[in-house]
Each structure stands twice: as structure tokens, then as C-alpha cells.
């Protein structure tokens, strides 16, 4: 297994300097990676390419025939009235989901990393919402936000405030689904941060403690920098996950009120493909969404790699 110069492992920096690869090492890498790459290739990229091809067609999903229409679907996307609103919805949802669940998740992880009585149970409770399927959560939150039977309405009424109708006002509906999503997703962020906190260098914390560094300073100077890779990782995955949210929207608002009040791009893809039966246009939206995500993620990753080198 050893290479000519006696090493087989490389830290990322070393790898760039080395010109020659060890055959054994390349073979091992292929063996380790190939099964996964093949699975992703067949079941994710092949459909993606299929989808890109479809975006140049007009295809009623029930029909055996599709017509090649060139860029017409893309032109339609640029010209359509609802495009801007759906993009905005998507961006708002994503922004709130990323910042909201990351801030809360980190806070909870720091809190429950401490030696507190009953933290094991509370950890499970924080994680519990993440376990429930999106569809069930959508139903459960009817009991929270329903303007007549909901808990929010009930609690507000006790202090003499009239609750807004969350289902009827686009802004409130958006608030409702993002709050629900953050509630569900905080458990995910929490677990990843908690794992990272467990694996961090306790010695550094202790050193800071001995130095008498204040808590807030310790957090900014010692803890947060150690968590930076995790934070990057979470910002990427939470963003990508939040953009794939379908169940919660479908159960709670079906993309409404007023048609597109809470429609995000993924919901639009579904709506166009299966309800309006315009699979070609649906594929176009999906392709555009993929491209946008690709650009954002690549920028994030590039920033992360640069940060790592610095």
C-alpha cells in the first residue's frame, strides 16, 4: 500500500504539491468511491439530464407524445407574472430557514452541551420534531395556527389580542410555513452542532477558561472558530434542504393563499408537472432552480475552501 516515497496519506495541501499518484492508492480510492458515484450517477444525474432534456419540450405528462419547443419554456419563465413572486417566496423561505434554524440550533446545542439537569430528555425533545414527517407536522400545526381551533388563537385571545388569519394573508401564511419548518428543522442543526461540540478541542476551551477569558469572548474567539467548518456545512445543507420542502407547504397551504402566496420553486415544479400537467415547463423551473443552487453552493464552497487555507 505504501507509495514510493513512503506516504499514502496526504493532507489537502500536500496533495496539490505531489505530481505523481500511487497506483495502489488510486485503485483504492476508486474502489471506495465508485459504488456511491455510480448510484448517484444512475439515480440522480441520469434523471437530472432527462429533466434538462425535457425542459426543451412541451409535454403533457399523460401523453405519449412531446413536442420540441426549443427555449420557449425558458422564455415563458422569464415573462410570466408569477415568476418574481415565486422567486421571492423561495428566497424568503430559504433565508429565514437558514438563519432561523441555525441560530436556534446553535443556541440549543450550546445550552444542552452544558451539564444541566434533565438535558438528555430535553435533547430528545428538541430533536423530536425533526423525526416527524412533514405531512404529519402540517396536520399537527393546524392545531397551532387554525384561526378558530388553534392554540395561537387561543393564547392570544386570553390576553385580548385577535390572531391574524394565518391561512388567508400571504405574509402570515409565509410566516406560518417558515415557522413550522424552522420548528421542525432545528433538531437537525442541533444534532450536527452538538456532535461538533463533542468533538471540539476541549483543551482550547480550558486554556481560555484558565486565562480568565469572558464567556462571550470565549464563544467568539474559541468556540465559534472551531465550529466554522460545521457552520459552513450547515449553511449549505440547510439551504439545500429548505429548498426541497414540499410536504409542509402541500399540507398546510397548497401553495396558497391566492394561488402563489406560499408557492416555492419546488412546489411550482410539482404543481406544473402533475396538476397543470405541463411536465416540460415543470422541468424548466427545476433546471433553473438547479442552476441557481449550483451557483450559490459553489460560491459557498469556494469561500469555505479559501477560509480553510487562510
Amino acid at each position: 500500500m505504501l507509495t514510493g516515497n513512503g506516504t499514502f496519506l496526504a493532507s489537502p495541501d500536500v496533495a496539490r504539491q505531489e505530481r505523481r499518484y500511487s497506483r495502489a492508492e488510486v485503485a483504492l480510492a476508486v474502489a471506495l468511491l465508485l459504488p456511491n458515484l455510480v448510484l448517484l450517477g444512475i439515480f440522480t444525474y441520469r434523471p437530472l439530464l432527462d429533466n434538462i432534456r425535457l425542459s426543451f419540450f412541451s409535454w403533457n405528462i399523460s401523453s405519449p407524445q412531446a413536442t420540441f419547443v426549443g427555449l420557449q419554456n425558458y422564455v415563458e419563465w422569464v415573462q410570466r407574472d408569477d415568476t418574481v413572486q415565486i422567486l421571492m417566496n423561495t428566497a424568503v423561505f430559504m433565508g429565514v430557514a437558514v438563519f432561523g434554524s441555525m441560530a436556534l440550533g446553535l443556541g440549543l446545542a450550546l445550552l444542552l452541551d452544558q451539564k444541566l439537569f434533565g438535558r438528555g430528555v430535553v435533547r430528545s425533545l428538541v430533536f423530536a420534531p425533526y423525526v416527524i414527517s412533514g405531512a404529519a407536522i402540517g396536520i399537527a400545526f393546524q392545531f397551532v395556527f387554525d384561526p378558530t381551533f388553534g392554540v395561537v388563537q387561543d393564547l392570544l385571545a386570553r390576553v385580548g389580542v385577535a390572531a391574524p388569519n394565518f391561512y388567508k394573508h400571504s405574509g402570515w401564511a409565509m410566516f406560518m410555513i417558515t415557522a413550522t419548518y424552522v420548528w421542525k428543522n432545528v433538531g437537525y442543526v442541533f444534532v450536527i452542532y452538538l456532535a461538533a461540540l463533542q468533538a471540539r478541542r476541549v483543551d482550547l476551551d480550558e486554556a481560555a477558561e484558565i486565562d480568565g477569558t469572558g464567556q462571550l469572548r470565549k464563544f467568539w474567539r474559541v468556540t465559534l472558530p472551531q465550529l466554522r467548518p460545521t457552520t459552513f456545512f450547515l449553511s449549505v445543507t440547510v439551504m439545500l434542504n429548505s429548498l426541497q420542502v414540499f410536504d409542509i407547504i402541500n399540507v398546510m397551504t397548497r401553495g396558497g393563499p391566492y394561488g402563489t402566496g406560499t408557492t416555492t420553486m419546488v412546489f411550482q415544479v410539482y404543481q406544473e408537472t402533475f396538476v397543470n400537467q405541463r411536465a416540460g415547463y415543470g422541468a424548466t423551473v427545476a433546471t433553473i432552480m438547479f442552476l441557481i443552487l449550483l451557483v450559490i453552493t459553489m460560491v459557498q464552497v469556494a469561500l469555505q475552501e479559501r477560509g480553510r487555507r487562510a
Partner: protein, 286 residues
Amino acid sequence: MNNDAGTHRHGGDRRRLRGAIAYLAMLVVVATVVIPLYFVLITSLKPRPDIYTQPVMWFPDEIIPDSYTTVFTAVPFWEYLRNSVFITAVLTVVQVVLGVLSAYALVFLRFPGRHAAFLFILASLMVPKEITVISNFALVAQLGWTNSFAGIIVPLAGVAFGAYLLRNHFMSLPGEVIEAARMDGTPPMKMLWRVVLPMSWPTVAAFTIITIVTEWNQYLWPFLIASNEKVAPLPVGLTLLQQAEGLTNWGPVMAGTVVTMLPILVAFLLLQKQMIKGLTAGAVKG
């Protein structure tokens, strides 16, 4: 959160105050998280007319197990549970193994196209599931895999999330330890098992629990592939409780939700301990 003060002293008062704030924060968290969960639970135990009332009925006069009886008798619950356990177990094992191996290769092995391979894995996270189903359904149908476990499992087996998570973690491992082992001439697979993984259990445990949750809750794909209780998992099977035009009886639906989440919460409690154990193991090594 320890952001109450930037002081340089550790007065006993401050410490006690911090403790109080921490417990208070914990209480708020518990309340926010628990109220919706409580309504899921209590709805599953209410008699039907008590589910929708005004004002909201926080504490029902009567608690009945009927909704649970419905879940266990009106649909083939145990078959769905068996399928769920099988599908989730296989997918979790496969994904964790593939994830660890992929991440290990991406971080510690030198080979041409390493960065491209990473981007290939990462970018697959950006493909919405909704657009893959039609194409994959066609392929699975051609293979004759509809209504089979293979048809459900194989297309879901590729792992991008975990490979990314572990790659990220592996790259943050202390260079000294890796370097030392490398100097000793440890062979790569042994290195993975003896050096890298022992420092990574909390992350592997987190990856495992998230994989379990994800696969346990898979809906769209198993729904398209499964015809009946032969292979359908719980989330697909339990929609049978919901098929009514106009009025759904939420009691059994909520009972179904409760029994679906319980096994995963147990798994989390177990893995959570693993995450803490990982801390001590890692600390010793480090």
C-alpha cells in the same frame, strides 16, 4: 447560551444567575417544542367530538385508546412496520458505509479528479427529488422492480449528505495525529478504523441518526413503487387512515404519527449516548 456577560471574574452569583438563565431558556425551549407535540399526542387520545372544540380543549375530560386500536386493526400496521424497519436498516447501513468510505477517500487518499469527485457528490444534493421520480420510475419498471424492496432501496442508496458531512469532519481532524500514524506506516484501511473513526464517532452517530430519520420518513418514492403492504413502509401505509372525502378523522392519523415517531426517538436516545461516549474516546486519543 453563555452570552450573559463579558466579565473576567467568576463570581458565585454570576454562575448561579447563568444557571438560572440556562434553565429558563431550557424551559422556553421545552414549551415551544412541546406544545405542538402535546397536541399531536392529546388528539390521538381524545374522543372524536372533542378534537375540534371552541375554546380549545387543552385537557380532555376523557382519554380513550380507540384511535390506537384503529391504527393497529384498520390497516396492516405490523406489515408496514416490518417494511419500514427493513428498508431503513438496509439503507442506513449502506449509506453509513458508503459515506464513510467516500469521505475517507476524498480526504486522505490522493488521486486525480479528487475535487471533481467531491463536487459530483455535493452537487447531487441540489437535484430536487420531485424531478427524479419519473425517470427513476421508468428505470425501475424496466428492471421489473416495482412493488419490491430492491425497487425502493437501490435508487435511494447513494449518499451525498453523509459523504459531505464526514469529509468536512475528517478535514478538521488534528493533523498531528494523522501525520504520526502516517509516519508509522499504518496501512490505509487500518488507519481509517484505528485512527480516523475513533475520533469521529459523534459525527458518525449524528450522520446515522439523520439517515435513519430521512429514510424512515421517505414518502414519495416508496409511494410510487409500493402497491400494497408487501413492501410499503409506514408513512405510505398510514395514509390509508386518511382517505375520506370532506372530513378526516384526525384521531387515528395522529395516533399513527405517534407510533411512527416512537421507534426513532428510541434510536435517538441510544445514539445520543454514543455521541457522548465518542467525546471521551476522542478526548483520550487527542
